[in-house]
Amino acid sequence: MYKLLKYSLYDIVKSRFALLYTLFLVLVAISIYQVSEDMGKVSLSLLNIMLMIVPLIAAVFASTHFFNNLEFTELMLAQPVKRRDVFLSQFLAVAFVLSMALIVGFGVPMLIWGADVTILTLLGIGIGLSVIFAGLAFLASVMTRDKAKAIGISLSFWIYFSLVYDGFVLYLIYSLADYPLEKTTLGLVFLNPVDLGRIIMLMQLDISALMGYTGAFFQNFFGSFQGILISSGVLLLWMLWPSYFALRVFRKKDF
């Protein structure tokens, strides 16, 4: 397992994608830091990148990588190694590269120009979402035999979680406007990792406005140790379940 991971990582780290993605993130970070002086504005600009662009790239890259590496996967399957190890080495390599690109791409500018807790939280959420969407993309990839279809499904996951789901939530809130919905919305937030990441950030950036609607409910929840534990736990669950199911399908898949 460790050996396979070592070689998968080596291959992906040397790929042009890893370099370009890191470079892209560095450029984004530099331009954001250059344009706005105060940390509040920096985190706002980074927020859109982390919630939108990062998951998109993670989803597209992971499914592309899975199919580009399909022959190699087949080669590995003919070797005396476990299927689980073949899958995990691929997945972990992708997750690692996506995370490292974020850490290097944003981390270096942060070291130079400074960061606060908000920005560091944002970085953590970016990494979480990268792993989640890579997992979803792997799930889409093992379920189909066609690269284009897999990318399509990964993109639909992305559109669903970042757009359609919120539309549904808005509709629900609109039609049930007369009922107290704090707990329901909290529950709904947990069912969408992008929303979960976004709300964790809202707790830091827009706490004053959020207090207007939820009162202290959200604040008490996300501010308490228990709430932080639960929300990190749910985020972790999101990082695990797509890849777990992808692994299950992968173990039964015909190549």
Partner: protein, 415 residues
């Protein structure tokens, strides 16, 4: 002998009016009411350090009650502790605790009726229902007092500093915590509140009605249940105050209702759910204020007209301005908006493109408050972008035609 002269000299320096009367000294456990009754007008009753019990201690002549190292006056949870109806009564250096808790008679630490030229300074009041309660009095000075209540619920406590039908008074340098309203003024005129710290009160930090021609300067209002609410008043000056961390569905930096011809200048509104909420108010000026990290910096209801909002800084607020109607009869001018994305080609430091401070989503949230949890989602960003390109719902004339390119350097008020 020599030391005594020096001591007397020192005392007369600190409290010049002492010199006129006799000093009656009371030791721990002494009967205050008896001392009051035996004193001549203008005398000073000096309470030595220790503990005194009594309630409804009534003063009907000019007197000074002076405490040495904060003697405790314990009301034993019965009635008012001191009752005053006289001129020139002064309280200084007392530690007054445990008044009654009657809502019927508004029990208080010190209660004044029909008094004049009285001062209450350097006292510590704890667990009083109302702390300082003044009715129908004038030329009152309330300074350097610390008023604490540890009540859990709003109905378990009264107001910190309560003035009803008073005039020409000064309230300064007091700290009020844990009461219902920090400072409550009704029918109070020509009064100045200065440099008070009003924090963590159950209802309002400052609450006034029908109290014209008053000034509020350099006060701090922080984490009060519903912030500050002022109503039915004209000619108010609010300057260099700090309104901070008033969080909740109906919590405001300031709620202004039927306020006219007033000025709100150089204040800081920081981290409030709503910085300023204004309805039914006209001809007010909001100038050089700094709105930072509020949920809504300004909620301007359609019932307001001819107000001027100019040269303020709007920094890091979730929403800058929202309103409930489509008609806007107020003026926005030369404010700095950190969300402004325009440019300044003619280098006059004012943006060449007008700024519309209302965004579409804030209108939606106005109707469906729960929708606020979708803020900053892709869906909402898309909607807002579309609205920016083709304005359709947001009020046409809620607009700052000359937005400032750089924030004003407004200092940091008093803090």
């Amino acid at each position: 002998m020599k030391t005594l002269i020096v001591l007397l000299f020192a005392i007369s320096c600190f409290l010049p009016n002492l010199a006129s009367g006799t000093v009656i000294k009371l030791t721990s456990g002494g009967n205050i009411q008896m001392a009051i009754d035996n004193a001549q007008p203008g005398d000073t009753i000096l309470l030595a350090a220790g503990r005194y019990e009594g309630h409804d201690l009534t003063i009907r002549k000019p007197l000074t009650i002076w405490g040495e190292s904060y003697p405790v006056v314990d009301g034993m949870h019965k009635g008012n502790i001191f009752l005053v109806a006289a001129e020139n009564v002064h309280f200084k250096g007392l530690h007054i605790i445990n008044s009654g808790k009657s809502t019927m008679e508004d029990s208080a630490g010190i209660k004044f009726f029909d008094s004049k030229s009285c001062t209450v300074s350097d006292n510590l009041l704890e667990e009083t229902y109302f702390a300082l309660h003044f009715s129908n009095s004038e030329e009152i000075t309330v300074s350097n007092n610390r008023l604490f209540s540890s009540a859990e619920k709003e109905y378990q406590t009264g107001n910190g500093i309560h003035l009803w039908k008073c005039k020409n008074s000064t309230i300064e340098n007091n700290t009020v915590m844990g009461h219902r309203d920090g400072i409550y003024l009704e029918f109070v005129t020509n009064t100045v509140s200065r440099q008070n710290t009003i924090e963590g009160n159950k209802r309002y930090g400052l609450h006034f009605m029908f109290s014209h021609d008053n000034s509020y300067l350099q006060n701090t209002f922080r984490r009060n249940g519903a912030g500050v609410a002022v109503m039915y008043t004209h000619n108010v000056l609010m300057q260099e105050n700090l309104f901070e961390e008033n969080w909740g569905a109906s919590s405001y930096g300031i709620l202004l209702k039927d306020i006219t011809d007033s000025q709100v200048i150089n204040n800081i509104f920081r981290k409030n759910t709503i910085g300023i909420y204004m309805e039914g108010s006209s001809r007010n000026t909001f100038q050089n204020n700094s709105f930072q990290q509020n949920g809504w910096a300004f909620k301007l209801m359609a019932s307001c007209d001819r107000n001027t909002i100019e040269a303020n800084n709007f920094l890091g607020n979730t929403f800058d301005i929202s309103t409930n109607g489509s008609v806007v009869l107020n003026t926005l001018n030369q404010n700095y908006w950190d969300k402004y994305e325009g440019y300044d080609l003619d280098k006059d430091r004012l943006g060449d493109v007008p700024y519309r401070p209302i965004n579409l989503f804030s209108m939606i949230v106005e109707k469906i408050p729960a929708a606020v949890i979708l803020w900053r989602s892709f869906l909402v960003t898309l909607l807002d972008r579309m609205e920016k390109v083709i304005p359709s719902i947001t009020p046409e004339n809620m607009i700052d035609n000359s937005p400032k390119m750089k924030p004003y350097d407004l200092g940091t008020a008093h803090s």
